[in-house]
Amino acid sequence: MLIKGRVWKFGDNIDTDIIIPAKYLAMTDPRSLGEHCMEPISPSFHEKVSAGDIIVSGSNFGCGSSREHAPIAISALGIPLVIAKSFARIFYRNAFNKGLALLEADIADNIDEGEEVEIDLSSGVIRWRDMEVTAKPIPPFMVELINEGGLINYLKKQLEE
């Protein structure tokens, strides 16, 4: 699957309180959550971002709480993918469970905000300008889960059997 998008850059340790502040966690509606995505450090992010844009970040993206509202808020803005040097553990599982793709690659220092990137999700190859980087492969078990249509579909199938 090929994804093309414009880059929004964030730093290291982007925590879940930045991605979606806890004061909004009584909401479950994706659109409302998206309106507050990244609010503490970029209050108008939801207005500037366009569907199809991509987040590129440093290490430990998604650290902090287990709130699934975080990947939901990102997806609600039409962002299909986050590329980061590394991801916090709970966020990693949550994102895949919610259909937000993640790739581990250390490219934040070599790419500018607003640049166009092209990503081949199946091979993990990321291309921009004349640069090409291959992301760390998604663990085979996660790939299997994605191929099943995600954890909830996998569970649904089990319950139907």
Partner: protein, 419 residues
């Protein structure tokens, strides 16, 4: 080859003799926990999959602790939905109102977790129960739904990192200072995906309450879980609180660790994590020039009786600075009552502190103590991220109860020796 405690608990729940780091296992769970902000998403998924029942109504725990007493209409509606679900599915352990406390203080106190258990919770601080010698880790709402329905969940077996702690503790120093020291040393992703195992004579010397604090903040170093070997103190705690059978696991002498750190407890000072990462740790002595507007003593990290006692000792006969508000939040009704009986409430009220009902409230900027733009707080909580306790331009300094109480009196960050 030997195994660590974490590997042994995971193996026993996956029906295996042996597991090793990196292996994907399908493990049985002993408990699945959610709260008033994570359960609503979980219940949406529960409905979507068309599940009829939870795997065991005795093993699903729902705790209404974050935005309660309900802070607004949305929160009230979430709790209502969860309450109806709990009634419909005959959930034994539904906590709301007068029987409710902060989940990670409440569950051990209610005897719901014991050594050898495997617990998942839709809350990142679920790792707290590692203090009991259980494997406990935070998951998202969707994983929690899977666990609630199947009674099982998949895990990648984590590598383990050992923190061997020796030497004698200095006065006032608690588990909070140790875990802040460790996070400062390895960073907020220093234990990413790993199990953090704490042992040594200095750990044996710590109270259960201090151990809960340490395990609680494993996630702040990126850890999957924190874990302690159950010892005499753990067994005494479990016997006092639980009727559940428990199983004590020990790491083998030839167990493999990704890293082993030697930590000299005698060198650990009263620590403070400065904004805006728990790893930005300095000695309280270096920070005396920082004025503060608010102090919070509470949370799943430091809202237990030891913490309230330490605060009361310092606040006794003193008054909170006129420039500072001090909010005390006993973590559970039991702790609340004990603090009241032991006379701590008189001390707090005489010092002009506010005593709050048990709630996560201000820790995550929910309610009951939000910061305005430019305000600064010292809090015994676990996260000091940007805007965590209110306005994005407010600041949180993380400390143990002794520094928090001393700071409340002085209106600036203070060491208890100054009182």
């Amino acid at each position: 080859m030997g195994m660590t405690i974490t590997e042994k608990i995971l193996a026993s729940h996956a029906g295996k003799e042996f597991v090793e780091p990196g292996e994907i296992i399908d493990a049985q769970i002993d408990l699945a926990l959610a709260n008033d902000i994570t359960a609503p998403l979980s219940l949406e998924e529960f409905e979507k999959v068309g599940a009829q029942n939870v795997f065991d109504p005795d093993k699903v725990v729902l705790v209404m602790d974050h935005f309660t007493p309900n802070k607004d209409i949305l929160s009230a509606e979430n709790c209502k939905k969860i309450r109806e679900f709990a009634a419909g599915h005959k959930i034994t352990h539904f906590y709301e109102g007068g029987n409710c406390g902060i989940e990670h203080a409440l569950l051990p106190e209610q005897g719901l977790v014991v050594a050898g258990d495997l617990v998942i919770g839709a809350d990142s601080h679920t790792c707290t129960y590692g203090a009991l010698g259980a494997f406990a880790t935070g998951v998202g709402s969707t994983d929690l739904t899977y666990g609630m329905v199947k009674g099982r969940i998949w895990f990648k077996v984590p590598e383990s990192i050992k923190f061997h702690c020796y030497g004698k503790w200095s006065k006032w120093v608690t588990g909070k200072d140790l875990i802040l020291h460790i996070i400062g040393m390895i960073g907020v992703d220093g234990a990413l995906y790993a199990a953090m195992e704490f042992d040594g004579e200095a750990i044996s010397a710590l109270s259960m309450d201090s151990r809960f604090t340490i395990a609680n903040m494993a996630i702040e170093a990126g850890g999957k879980n924190g874990i302690f070997r159950a010892d005499g103190k753990t067994e005494a705690y479990m016997k006092a609180h639980s009727k559940k059978p428990y199983r004590v696991f020990e790491s083998d002498p030839d167990a493999k660790y990704r890293q082993v750190f030697e930590v000299d407890a005698s060198k650990i000072e009263l620590n403070v994590a400065c904004p805006s990462l728990p790893s930005n740790v300095k000695s309280a002595r270096e920070l005396g020039g920082i004025n503060i507007d608010q102090v919070i003593i509470g949370s799943c990290t430091n809202g237990r009786i030891d913490d309230l006692e330490a605060a009361a000792k310092i606040l006794e006969g003193n008054k909170v600075s006129r420039n500072t508000r001090c909010i005390i939040i006993p973590a559970t009704p039991k702790i609340y009552r004990q603090a009241m009986r032991e006379g701590f409430f008189d001390v707090f009220l005489d010092a002009e502190c506010v005593i709050s009902p048990p709630t996560c409230g201000p820790c995550l900027g929910g309610h009951m103590g939000i910061l305005a733009k430019g305000e600064r707080a010292v809090a015994t909580t676990n996260r000091n991220f940007i805007g965590r306790m209110g306005h994005p331009e407010s600041e949180v300094y993380l400390a143990g109860p002794a520094v928090a109480a001393a700071s409340a009196i002085k209106g600036r960050i203070a060491h208890p020796e100054e009182i």
